[in-house]
């Protein structure tokens, strides 16, 4: 942790020195101190737009997790769906979202709906894949045991597979968080009247580059906070997943 901070400080110092000494224009590359100043000076407008983007990200992740878990469970329980729907899900990830985003905006309107669709689309797949792996990862001997206990398919799912897949679900959600912020910004740039993505898009042609960077800093900090928050929630909710198994003999 301390080493990570030291590296960050070192990189920032290098950036500062380059920005100051090379004589590069502020509106092309602002120094970190200028970004910090913008962060403070523009705090009102940043906060206002952050709230919009944060809502999109959080709701979008909610949509993605619900859709991802739904797809994973359906595919896990149905061999037919595994053959038919899974390839379509994979195909959905090859959609160039940058190009589709404006089309979705044109279709779904200027407000929240297209943002949720885009964030959901970029985020549900990691959740689906990791959850599906988690469900399929139940020990074969444990399945045998459940069968000799006359457990039905659903009981095995409920008592063994589903709880066992929760850590994988959390891993998928952590991956999703990182891309959700990018998805929200992309969606805003495709058509929006507020949000940090919109702010960045406006700031650059107005030569307020420091403000654009400040918005990026806010977005990154938000993503890191979400990531850490998920980690914490996972440790709280699934304490058993973080203990080395069979350490005591």
């Amino acid at each position: 942790m301390i080493r990570a901070l030291m590296l960050a400080v070192l990189l920032l110092a290098g950036w500062e020195a380059y920005a100051q000494l090379s004589g590069i224009d502020d509106f092309i590359l602002p120094a970190p101190t200028e970004v910090a100043a913008a962060l403070y000076a523009d705090r009102g407008v940043l906060w206002q737009n952050f709230q919009v983007t944060a809502a999109e990200v959080l709701l979008g992740i909610g949509v993605a997790v619900a859709a991802g878990v739904g797809c994973a469970v359906a595919i896990h329980l149905s061999a037919t769906l595994r053959r038919t729907a899974y390839p379509l899900l994979v195909a959905s990830q090859t959609i160039p979202i940058v190009i589709v985003a404006p089309l979705l905006v044109a279709w779904l309107g200027y407000d929240l709906a297209p943002k949720l669709a885009i964030v959901g689309l970029v985020c549900f797949f990691p959740v689906t894949v990791t959850t599906l792996d988690g469900l399929a990862g139940a020990d074969p001997d444990l399945r045998k045991l459940m069968r000799t206990l006359d457990a039905s398919r659903l009981q095995t799912f409920r008592r063994v597979e589903a709880p066992g897949a929760l850590p994988a679900l959390f891993s998928g959600a952590r991956i999703a968080v990182a891309v959700a912020v990018i998805g929200a910004v992309l969606a805003e740039q495709a058509g929006s009247s507020d949000g940090l993505g919109h702010l960045i898009l406006q700031a650059i042609p107005q030569f307020q580059t420091a403000r654009a960077y400040a918005a990026v800093v806010v977005l990154s900090a938000f993503a890191i906070a979400l990531f850490a928050g998920l980690r914490l929630a996972e440790r709280r909710l699934l304490p058993w997943a973080h203990r080395s198994e069979g350490a005591v003999t």
Partner: protein
């Protein structure tokens, strides 16, 4: 089980796991099966449990419950809930299931560990909880797949003692598969020696010795030698 045969396809082609394997266990009897590794011992138990059907011959068995080699306790459930799993699966209410599992904890020296999570238990204790889970399945036949293979020698000797003890109190028909000839003689009423794959019964060694048996008892040692000879 009479002249049962079983083959399955693997990536390396057809595997004849069992061929002409015969085994008979009387109610309440403990039959131990020893054989070289890969002789189809696990397949034998899968047939007994009805997890697979034989390609040849005939398998007839009362309902059996399977106890795997590793304890495979559910890490998110307490020891008590793990033991009560068969009851919960059968639809018994949680409180009732726990009430029925609790007295058995004392019998196996697990009092005070009811609410412990699996990772808080030692390997030997985990195996005891796994055995309680097997008992609570309330099936007439227990199919134990090298249940103590993962334990160290000292813990294993203790485990054999509590197993014999628990079965004396709650008699069941037991098929115990092991690669440890000594364990087979110490625990079994009869020892069946299996051939290498495709596995079949090579020899039968009756063990008419009083319990508890000691591994150093000359009679046990003699029978162990007999079984080892049959294996070689």
């Amino acid at each position: 089980m009479e002249a049962a045969g079983f083959s399955y396809r693997s990536r390396r082609g057809l595997v004849h796991a069992l061929g002409g394997m015969s085994l008979r266990a009387a109610p309440g009897e403990m039959v131990t099966v020893v054989g070289p590794s890969g002789c189809g011992k696990s397949t034998l138990l899968e047939l007994v449990c009805g997890l697979r059907s034989p390609d040849a011959g005939r398998v007839q068995a009362d309902p059996a419950v399977y106890m795997p080699q590793r304890d495979l306790l559910l890490p998110w459930s307490s020891a008590l809930d793990n033991a009560a799993l068969p009851l919960l699966v059968r639809g018994v209410r949680r409180e009732q299931a726990r009430a029925r599992a609790r007295p058995l904890f004392a019998e196996l020296g697990l009092s005070g560990f009811e609410t412990a999570m699996p990772h808080e238990l030692s390997g030997g204790m985990r195996q005891r909880v796994a055995f309680l889970r097997t008992l609570l399945a309330a099936k007439p036949v227990l199919a134990l797949d090298e249940p103590f293979a993962a334990l160290d020698a000292l813990t294993r000797a203790q485990a054999q003692a509590w197993l014999a003890d628990a079965l004396a109190r709650q008699p069941r028909t037991v098929i115990l598969v092991t690669h440890d000839v000594e364990e087979a003689v110490v625990l079994g009423d009869r020892v069946i020696v299996m051939s290498p794959r495709p596995g079949r019964d090579l020899a039968e060694v009756p063990v008419d010795l009083p319990r508890p048996r000691r591994r150093t008892d000359p009679a046990v040692v003699a029978l162990r030698e007999r079984a080892l000879e049959a294996l070689a």
